[in-house]
């Protein structure tokens, strides 16, 4: 590999990038946008669900129970009605997501251990369902939540249990931001290099390049190098915003965070190059990028817990770089682990990079046929 030719490619890419305003905007815009979207808007802990209340008991105890439920913040009352039927109607119309029914014999039920209240949930949204389940844990036996009672003491009758010991504001940002570094880098890095080679082909530059002494490896590596810098800039933006906006902790070393990120960047760039050697047009490259991106988001453990997925999905997830990166970055940032302790995923990523890069270089022919 000739250093001067390699450098010529790097400089060329940077100069082109400097004039490509849209791509430049994407470098900063995508991380900021995604972070804000995921951090604020996409909050899996729902709050303020519209609720209707039908308290048919009208006792001090029933009012206390309702107040306790409202105090969780999960629901906010929008209507008070007399019958469960009215609640069902409102639920069906979408006016409320949750209905709380306290039957007239509330006090008697409380004494003989039968279910004392009912929470009607709009089950069409699983997130709502999960959130409303919290309500079922409102205490019934005392007006004041008993924070000392462990959840295991809850009778299986499903009467209603203690709420107090839960983190009152389980913030999803802390879980999401480290993963978001991976999601953003997977998306932008694969896309940038995915179109890198195809673009030269579409614009007619490729015929010029392959008629020169430039080697496949020089071209491929030269195309990747500028984007490593871009990736690290993006990482810095996400980390800074994460710490500043969401107070996300970095419990491990910052160096480890960047090393782990560097691995994902390289893996994504190599994958992008491979796509680029295959795709016939920039549009095809984008389609293929999405083909990688979707399973990465859904199966890597970013969206859904890895352990809960079926075996087949887990196997697919194991070949996605994002899966391994998530284990690394969550380990380093949230649990304070060192990369050394997570060597298995580091090795997997290294192997992935080596294989993808080699295949991309081998696949690229300095020929038109």
């Amino acid at each position: 590999m000739n250093g001067r030719r390699l450098w010529a490619i790097v400089i060329k890419e940077l100069r082109q990038l400097r004039r490509d305003r849209i791509t430049l905007a994407m470098v900063i815009g995508i991380p900021v946008l995604q972070l804000v979207l995921f951090g604020y808007a996409i909050n899996t802990n729902l709050r303020g669900l519209h609720a209707g209340i039908a308290d048919q008991s009208h006792t001090a105890g029933s009012r206390a129970l309702v107040m306790d439920m409202l105090a969780t913040g999960v629901v906010s009352p929008v209507a008070t009605v007399n019958t469960p039927q009215q609640l069902m109607t409102m639920l069906r119309r979408g006016e409320i997501s949750v209905g709380i029914v306290v039957p007239a014999d509330f006090e008697r039920r409380r004494i003989d251990g039968r279910p004392v209240a009912q929470v009607l949930v709009d089950g069409s949204d699983t997130a709502v369902q999960a959130a409303a389940a919290q309500l079922a844990q409102t205490p019934v036996d005392s007006a004041v939540p008993d924070t000392r009672a462990p959840p295991t003491s809850t009778p299986p009758s499903g009467r209603i249990s203690v709420v107090g010991f839960y983190n009152p504001q389980r913030r999803s940002a802390i879980n999401i931001v480290p993963g978001l570094i991976g999601v953003i880098l997977t998306m932008t890095m694969v896309l940038f290099t995915g179109i890198a080679i195809v673009r030269e082909r579409e614009r007619g530059n490729m015929e010029l390049l392959i008629a020169t002494p430039l080697s496949s490896a020089e071209l491929m590596v030269g195309k990747v190098l500028p984007y490593i810098v871009i990736g690290l800039v993006q990482t810095t933006v996400i980390l800074a915003l994460g710490v500043w906006l969401f107070a996300v902790p970095i419990r491990g070393s910052v160096l480890d965070v960047y090393l782990a990120t560097g691995l994902l960047i390289l893996a994504s760039l190599a994958l992008g190059l491979l796509i680029s050697t295959r795709a016939q047009s920039q549009f095809q490259a984008m389609q293929m990028t999405f083909f990688i991106f979707l399973p990465s988001i859904l199966l890597s453990g970013f969206m859904f817990p890895f352990a809960g997925m079926p075996k087949a999905a887990q196997w697919i997830a194991e070949v996605l770089p994002l899966t391994h990166f998530l284990r690394l970055i969550r380990g380093v940032m949230l649990r304070g682990a060192s990369l050394w302790e997570l060597w298995g995923d580091v090795l997997t990523l290294l192997a992935f990079i080596a294989v993808m890069m080699a295949v991309a270089i081998l696949r690229f022919r300095k020929r038109l046929d």
């Binding site: 010529a8 007619g204 490729m206 010029l208 008629a211 020169t212 002494p213 430039l214 038109l368």
Partner: protein, 324 residues
């Protein structure tokens, strides 16, 4: 023909198939060094495919190639240092400036670092980009782009230059200018292989090969090629050229009739035996016209490349190509 001191390109039985289509069909080629060698043929005649095989970008389906003493495609990598290739479509970077494009090519083509800057300055001066060196290539005119592409193709002073329809998107003045540059390069010892579908460009070449549907149908110097048609071209001046054309076009012995202005240019299958005597074909043409009530006068005229092209391909090129 000047005496040549070597063959830059030699090809034997060069063939390239794309599926069913035979794009290049058993072409034998000898391009002498230090010449401007032309490839003449209509679009789709296999010019680009042949050039791409000669510089090692396409693998031939069959045949042998030797360029500058190197076996192609086996030694294509070694060849790349010695050739320049100007593609049909502008292939420099439109989002880089004139100077940045040249800097990139200088580095990639291995122009020694110490020489690089002065070579770029030299080219910017020679190719008249002094006041445009910081302009983006994409914002320049067709003629300027071609000039820049040529400057880029010669930055490493290659022995051999391939130019694939270099002037197809350029106005006549820029084309003249461009050809001046090509002859300057030939004078300094560069061999040039230029493909074109324009007759006037073909006429400028030292030697040329005519390609038709993938086959090489004629080659030689323009004078040799036109000389071979000695006596087979006539000009017919008629009052109503279009009617006259319909009268003589189907006569046996007439290969083609094309209207040029108010007269007709006739190519015959056999030479008009003597310049003076009213021989066979000329006589028959005059008779046929007289019978149709057309008063016409026929005169012998020297053949041009258009006639050569028609004679070897029987596939007349467009008038516009001739007029240009």
């Amino acid at each position: 023909m000047s005496a040549d001191d070597g063959i830059a390109i030699r090809a034997r039985g060069l063939t390239r198939r794309f599926g069913e289509l035979v794009a290049v069909d058993h072409v034998d080629l000898d391009v002498p060094a230090r010449h401007v060698y032309g490839f003449l043929g209509p679009n789709g005649s296999g010019k680009s495919t042949t050039i791409r095989m000669l510089c090692g970008l396409l693998t031939p389906s069959a045949g042998e190639i030797e360029v500058l003493g190197l076996r192609i495609p086996a030694e294509a990598e070694a060849l790349r240092r010695h050739i320049g290739y100007m593609t049909q479509r502008f292939s420099l970077f439109e989002d880089l400036t004139v100077r940045e494009n040249l800097e990139f090519l200088a580095a990639v083509q291995g122009v020694p670092k110490a020489r690089s800057r002065s070579r770029i300055d030299e080219l910017i001066d020679q190719y008249r980009f002094t006041d445009r060196k910081n302009q983006l290539a994409g914002t320049m005119s067709g003629g300027q782009k071609q000039r820049l592409a040529l400057a880029g193709a010669v930055i490493h002073e290659p022995e051999l230059l391939f130019l694939d329809e270099p002037t197809s998107a350029v106005d006549p003045e820029s084309r003249r200018d461009f050809w001046e540059k090509l002859f300057e390069l030939a004078d300094t010892g560069t061999t040039l292989l230029v493909s074109t579908h324009l007759m006037d460009e073909a006429e400028r070449c030292h030697r040329l090969a005519i390609l038709d549907r993938g086959a090489l149908v004629a080659d030689g110097s323009p004078r040799e090629l036109t000389g071979a048609l000695q006596g087979r071209t006539l000009v017919v001046d008629a009052v109503d050229p279009r009617r006259a054309q319909s009268v003589i076009v189907d006569l046996p012995g007439v290969l083609s009739v094309a209207q040029v202005g108010s007269s007709l240019r006739v190519l015959t299958t056999e030479p008009v035996a003597a310049a003076t005597a009213a021989t066979d074909i000329r006589h028959r043409i005059e008779e046929a016209l007289a019978a149709a009530g057309q008063h016409a006068q026929t005169t012998a005229t020297p053949a041009n490349l258009e006639d050569v092209f028609v004679a070897v391909t029987r596939n007349p090129m467009k008038q516009e190509a001739y007029a240009a």
